[in-house]
Symmetry: C2
Subunit: 578 residues, 2 copies
């Protein structure tokens, strides 16, 4: 983690690379590092697919250490979907492996002149960049099988599917999990399209022969980690709900709360919710010999991921996340869990953001291309993307573009990015985050559901406007900081509710780096990241007018609570007053 | 011209209308009136296809009078293409007829709940709105034949083709010409999509039984008109070049100047230019029994339009304009004039902006869907739009969307609207207008080619940055004013070069309305319109960052002059300093 690898894909005579000490960026990791590099080095008005954009891949500050939950990797760029700055992070193994290889970041720069496709192999001996056009238009799963054949099965990969190669705005970057499957994704905002524009199909990481990163104070670190793990295990969300049912435990909760967006955000409850809930899913997984409780990276103690088998007991997909189940499920009026898992697989294989895809399919339903509830037609539509047909390209371009192409008015996007699985009218804190996040509509940017619905970190009534701005602000600040540590965001429940778990997190950082960070320092880090990001967006031409939800959330009331989004524009403009 | 007709397409129980005196908007016409209404009544952040947007159709101040050249009609809305304010104006007969019927504007408001399609008939007896679903998905030509069958051939029509019904962002509004053909279009920025979103297929105007509008001082008016016509006849551009060869006289001129964008703005000269020039076209038209010199509306004395027949002497299209010939021609590497005329016809029939379509086909060529120069493939591609296939919908969504869907970086748009037929690097005054116009890239918004290339209104070296900002500023101000009069913009050549012709224009306005307008008043009118428009765009979320050309015009030099666009951002930001 003391060096940065820069790969110039546009160098004369073919790609070249150089390594340099992290230098003045020392102390930054994950989102803090990607946003610092993008903010400083990428012209905000450049074309996202051009040579001036960069793709920055950075493990977090604690990635590659013994610290539990430290497996998140941040991927940053100027977003082809939003036109603003983007950090999208993923679980899986690459964060740990890359950090242990000593890299604080890989920066893909420039743009190759031809249309050759490259693979990059990195191990303790160095970096090898080679043309491999035989990989063209492979799905992520077939690609990773090829890489395992070539480099063995101890690798971790960062890759794109067909969507990234086609530079589609909803293309994700895939990260392999502990089974070396490309099932974890930096999904949002099109980082896969940027990787595709650089001509890079896959980065293969091999940490054979390198050791775990060592803390400055090993004893304190071990102790802190123990306290941290204890804190996670004793909290209801991280110790019980998530392990048992995965993130999809939220389906019944949000549906009960009347904040489950149904039929392209027309209703707040879905009649078929129980058929696709986390509880139902865990039962099916167990029954079919899948795995309902599983970690997406080594060192995970929450273990909210899983493996979803088909009726014959064969691997169909990883256990789909709540937002994925919602996007392809209730949002599209679909309650067929097998088809939803199949769509999850297609998204992962093609390299697509599941939220963006589900919302885009909903737009196509709104436009009359297929009927709400028609799961088979939805699967067929999604398969078009990987084929590169015109229809597939429209879908792979995301909801905002599909709305334009199909002439649809009801398009739930902010800054061009689709809204996730929480109706902003019935979970108003989420609405504030969607509207104001530097990332476009993004639930992870300031997960107000925690406090609005799960009563974690206190309670703010989800149906009232009072307190939502402050809640979203604080969560956005905390999240930007957590996204820099490499920690999975789910630690936030325990950290918000248990002071000793928050202290354990600080102790992990302090004992590893020999620092004396306080809660205030963490908040300052979060604020500084948000300021950088927001400044980038302003320089890219964004104004407060982009910090708004689509008009229909104001004008149309959602049932069962008969509420609209009534946080005022003036209140929204207060979120970044710090 | 003393009343405004408002048609509420979203009224309970079906569309309703009301008429009211023009009131405080008196003194405004054309663009001045459309922009005033849009600016005041349309929420700048509303969805362009939503109930809150309005389509305002306004003849100019002198339309419907005996004044020569007064046949322009302005169509305003929030643009589905740019997201900003839009005024797009058209020749043809509707301006004269609507003005004589006494309407300063028709305002289409609201949005019908169902998917019925309406026709609106207006004559001296009033307004009739009726459902006519038999018109669904008719092209403009078949539609107008139907209207002639129903209402006789003394009508003037304002209509949309399939593109408008599909609410595609590049959909135009068609206006019939003197032969009652839907060959003149308010093309730019997607007003046809807004008309489609209102459920209005066609507005049929019949001025049977109404008289020409009468001036306050008939003698002075007649005299002014005479002087005005004399001025137009004696100027080289309006008296010779345009009548003889139409606007396509520019092909050879721009090609010679090295400012003819070729192969999607890769080169500044096209080897096939002479085969598609105005001179060649006029010869072919004459040879085939077409008409090379013809007015698009009664009262035109420049007569730059024409009729282009096929090899068998049958009508193929109106004489394609220079920008149309360029967009489908040199921009796509195509030098087949018959195919270009056919594409002009398809655009008009489907209801599409020819500039946006040509540039979008160029993007598809850039993406490898078809080859530069393949005229037959281009025709086939364009035909997809009217069929409503996914590919057709992409093309009909314009260059910016197609660029996203096809993953292309080289997309020549400003504010989402395609650049017209003048390379901004070799005709830098045009570059300033493209970048800063409130309309997105628009040559008519401040036609610096006049002074850069045609040496009208003085001379500013097209290859140098000096003087371009001032030139574009003055032209944008003058144009906003001219666009309010109903006068064809081509009068500008004579008005710029001959003080007595400018005075004749003032005399026309003054004697008609009993005013004492001076040149300063005209400039003030232009400035006030631009300020309203720019303010709307700011309120819609635009900043100076949208007043920029795509980066490749800076980084890539164009031949033969080996020039880039080097007017600085700081200079561009001075355009609206008035």
């Amino acid at each position: 983690m003391e060096k940065i690898l820069r790969i110039n894909m546009g160098a004369e005579g073919g790609p070249s690379f150089s390594e340099a000490p992290i230098g003045e960026l020392a102390g930054l990791g994950g989102r803090g590092l990607t946003s610092a590099i993008i903010s400083k080095e990428v012209p905000p008005t450049c074309h996202p697919l051009g040579a001036e954009n960069k793709l920055v891949i950075a493990p977090g500050l604690l990635s590659g250490t013994m610290a539990a939950m430290s497996g998140r990797i941040s991927i940053g760029c100027k977003s082809p979907l939003t036109g603003g700055i983007k950090e999208s992070n993923s679980g899986g193994q690459p964060a740990q492996v890359l950090a242990r290889l000593g890299y604080a970041a890989i920066v893909l720069e420039g743009k190759p002149a031809g249309d050759d496709l490259y693979k990059i192999f990195i191990n303790k001996d160095g970096v090898r960049i080679s043309v491999d056009n035989s990989l063209k238009m492979l799905g992520n799963y077939a690609l990773i099988e090829r890489m395992k054949g070539e480099f063995g099965d101890k690798i971790a990969c960062i890759s794109i599917g067909q969507a990234g190669e086609m530079r589609l705005p909803a293309a994700s970057v895939a990260c392999t999990d502990v089974e070396v499957r490309p099932a974890r994704h930096a999904g949002r905002g099109g980082p896969g399209a940027v990787m595709g524009s650089k001509g890079v199909k896959v980065i293969v990481l091999d940490d054979n022969g390198v050791t775990m990163r060592q803390p400055k104070d090993p004893d304190k670190f071990r102790e802190a980690n123990k306290a941290f793990i204890e804190g996670l295990r004793k909290h209801g969300v991280t110790g019980e709900a998530l392990p048992a049912y995965g993130t999809n435990v939220l389906t019944n909760i949000l549906n009960e709360a009347g904040g489950y967006p149904t039929y392209n955000f027309k209703e707040g409850r879905f009649a078929g919710a129980s058929r696709i809930s986390g509880e139902t899913m865990a039962g099916v997984e167990t029954e079919r010999g899948g795995v309902p409780t599983h970690g997406c990276h080594r060192g995970c103690v929450i273990r909210c991921s899983g493996i979803y088998n088909d009726k014959d007991g064969h691997y169909l997909s990883k256990q789909p996340e709540y937002e994925t189940v919602w996007a392809h499920g209730g949002n599209c009026g679909i309650d067929d869990m097998d088809k939803i898992a199949l769509m999850d697989f297609i998204d992962d294989d093609t390299g697509l953001d599941t939220i963006e895809m589900g919302v885009t399919i909903g737009i196509a339903m709104e436009a009359g291309l297929l009927k709400f509830g028609d799961a088979s037609a939805a699967v067929d539509l999604l398969r078009e993307v990987g084929k590169g047909t015109p229809l597939g390209r429209i879908i792979g371009s995301g909801a905002a573009v599909a709305g334009k192409v199909f002439g649809v008015e009801r398009v739930p996007v902010v800054k061009g990015q689709a809204l996730p699985a929480y109706d902003p009218r019935a979970v108003k804190g989420m609405g504030v985050t969607y509207a104001t996040s530097t990332m476009g509509a993004d639930h992870t940017a300031g997960y107000a559901t925690a406090t609005n619905i799960l009563k974690s970190g206190g309670y703010v009534d989800p149906l009232k406007t009072e307190g939502q701005v402050e809640l979203s602000r604080n969560l956005q600040i905390a999240t930007a900081a957590i996204d820099s540590t490499g920690m999975c965001l789910f630690i936030a429940f325990a950290v918000l509710d248990q002071p000793e778990t928050f202290q354990a997190l600080l102790d992990l950082l302090n004992s590893f780096y020999g620092l004396n960070l306080t809660a205030d320092n963490v908040a300052e880090l979060g604020k500084s990241i948000l300021k950088l990001e927001r400044d980038f967006n302003f320089r890219a031409g964004f104004t407060k007018e982009q910090d708004r939800l689509p008009g229909f959330f104001k004008s149309q009331f959602v049932q069962p609570h008969n509420v609209n989004f009534d946080v005022t524009d003036e209140e929204l403009d207060q979120v970044f007053n710090f």
